[in-house]
Symmetry: C3
Subunit: 321 residues, 3 copies
């Protein structure tokens, strides 16, 4: 899917595959996916619709992804579905063309394939040969669209809207697929101001920033989160203690901070929220967790219900078993 075509011709119905954060139409998010997620979240467990009864999800992981796997596996289970899969450790033992793996799965009665691949473009390659929906659970430094969906849902759920917000993305904005994917998704919304706070070596890639600008987002690169904190609605943190970020900070001579601390929280508006895809490091110290604006665990919980909603909606569109 070309970026342009996605922007110009949004699909109003549930897409066949979940590959790229740019593929989702705004009405589908606001009128279908997010309300479905909220409804599921408010439903007692014992009353959940068994939308996946008699359906099966297969996960195929070329890289470890405990968080995403557990979230989808639990989601499928709560909807009455069954889950089987192949972990990254097993993948290493014998390599096999991705397309061959998918063609074998085409012969097996699975209704969904959840794929994590180690290289950008893996999900799209899989979708080209799969007879059932491919859900991209991360492809290298590419995208992680269901993370972007749960991040956007969390903002919508906590603040009531996505339009007109001031959002800071903080940390490694170049290689982190979570911020790339979220940025693409935010391009769907209006009157957004996006502050990019990253070391010089880890600036957001031109292609993502250009997409945001073309989508009408007001994008600013700022050297320090503190400069803009008092006006923010959302702070989106990423892991600060990766090797990549440590190296980039040495290059910047460590003068800037990519962390949340008590001082920053004091600046931040009372209604604002701090998100983090987890696992976190020292950039979001646990001793601040009592502050209700630290929303990262609510965000992780939302991931379960967002994925339940997604599977339910895909199941409605999927061919009969």
């Amino acid at each position: 899917m070309e970026r342009g075509s996605a922007a110009e011709a949004p699909v109003p119905t549930t897409p066949q595959h979940i590959l790229d954060a740019r593929q989702f139409a705004r009405p589908w998010l606001e009128e279908t996916l997010f309300p479905t997620t909220r409804t599921l979240q408010q439903t007692p467990l014992s009353a959940l619709p068994q939308a996946l009864r008699g359906k099966r999800l297969f996960y195929l992981f070329y890289e470890p992804s405990t968080r995403t796997r557990v979230s989808f596996e639990t989601a499928a289970m709560l909807l009455g579905g069954q889950v089987v899969g192949i972990d990254s450790d097993e993948q290493r033992a014998r390599d096999e063309r991705l397309e061959d793996r998918i063609q074998v799965l085409n012969q097996f009665p699975y209704e969904f394939i959840l794929l994590r691949y180690h290289e950008e473009g893996g999900a799209r390659r899989a979708a080209a040969v799969s007879r059932v929906p491919i859900i991209n659970a991360g492809d290298g430094t590419g995208q992680h669209p269901t993370q972007a969906l749960l991040d956007a849902y969390t903002i919508w759920q906590e603040l009531g809207r996505l339009d007109g917000l001031q959002i800071a993305l903080v940390g490694d904005l170049s290689y982190e697929r979570t911020t790339n994917s979220l940025a693409y998704l935010l391009g769907r919304f209006r009157d957004l101001t996006l502050y990019l706070v990253s070391p010089d070596l880890l600036r957001m890639r031109d292609e993502v920033r250009d997409y945001l600008v073309a989508s009408g987002v007001d994008v600013h690169e700022v050297p320090d989160l503190r400069e803009v904190a008092s006006g923010l609605d959302v702070v989106y943190m990423t892991r600060a203690h990766t090797e990549r970020l440590e190296h980039a900070r040495r290059y910047d001579r460590g003068r800037r901070s990519y962390a949340v601390d008590a001082e920053l929280l004091a600046e931040l508006p009372r209604h604002a929220i701090v998100l983090h895809p987890l696992p976190r490091g020292r950039e979001l110290p646990a001793d601040l967790d009592a502050d209700p604006r630290i929303a990262c665990f609510r965000q992780a919980g939302n991931g379960l219900y967002l994925r339940m909603a997604l599977l339910s909606l895909l199941a409605q569109g999927a061919p009969e078993a």
Copy 2:
């Protein structure tokens, strides 16, 4: 089980353990296992007999085996059974006598044990102490009988019979347990011509070839697949890019080919099929997949239904839970 006794006294009913491709009687294959497999394959998923309801399969893997594990796990699940197991990675952490593992499982309510072991004879050792059926999912360079069964079923399903065929086995015929096991199973059928196409260093082991000759199979070693292609019904390929085969080819000065290409397909009869246990390498290029004679994915799909049939039949013979 001695080879001789197996050949002379075929068991007409479902065996207790699945250990060795030589143990299956021809009437059981043609009148029970293969028709049961075909019936399951033609049954809508929602109407599958829940032959494993209230039954449990345990997989115990000392070597990785994603393909076989996924196939059996899906088969058990579709028949209403439950699956728990131990992967090869977990095995490495602490070693324990195989017999002890089985004796502990004897105390647990599992109705089937699927075993992959790293040394020849593991399945037989396990069967000697197990109170429930052991299914050999590969033991070192020994056998992989359920792979042989699905290979033979694929030939029966695609060509309507196994008698009177001309079959080429190609590649590493010494260490590959798939070709060893299939060769043993083919010994049950009549008027077969078997062409063995392998490097000198990886010729079929004497014990297997002697068994075939004693069973009345017309066995020929040929240096090049092309020589015999025009008369073949089945080409059975194996992985050509293992270290072992690369070494053996250098020894042969690389003059021979163990691969399928367009030229070879042009020689092959229109009704012939090309099988491969997967994963494949360059010996079966993906750009030939559009040719309907390339049957390796149908073969992998058959594995699911063959294993469902096998579990169903074993369940009928298994003691009550």
Copy 3:
């Protein structure tokens, strides 16, 4: 929980978390847990109470633990529950604070968390933040309380009582969490004589021995199991071929034995039992298994039913889903 307070104020009802072998009150063991286990063991599989229907167990393993995982997973499954988890291999890929993992799980509908942690105190840290019961499946060289429970149940089941017995603990009594945990549990019973048979470098830790003495257990360190064999009711063996024990034996100049052999069995009373948490090495040779006093496989089987009982009892006390 302080040791003193645990000893003085036993909890008569099922505890909220399973953390430490010292936390169990004797009446709860003898009037609730052990009889429930025995009843489950005598119930036909098809009539087992589905006490975990609609409930889910999550296992979170920072170290491998196939034995304990399989036992709990089977137990939950037989009671109608569902199991999802994260293995130690996946943990290594990305580290994350234990407390964060638990806080994410707090957002997911799991009714039990089974935790194996690589450092002493992990289970207690998890319990401090978890909204559902934490079951300690071993924390470093700390405890393994459900192993102690199944060991004690096995003695109760095989010999009819725990009071007044003569028990030998053999091998590495310093770092093995099984013997530490069992020793703590035995402190609840009366008129016990405990013989500790270990190399000088691997003597039982002072804190454990002091606890036993304060609990009224008659504790003796003996250099050789043979000295006391004729009066024993229970021999509890541990792995003798760990690196630690081999080193400690060289220090002792290898004069002592920590193994069972035919000579020792000849000394042992006819009613006595030999236990071992498995996996075993040469300290309990397989060629003695025909002796009915070797009870290690019955012991492993008891583990399944003990854990079913424990989950059932915890489920009764757990908050409604």
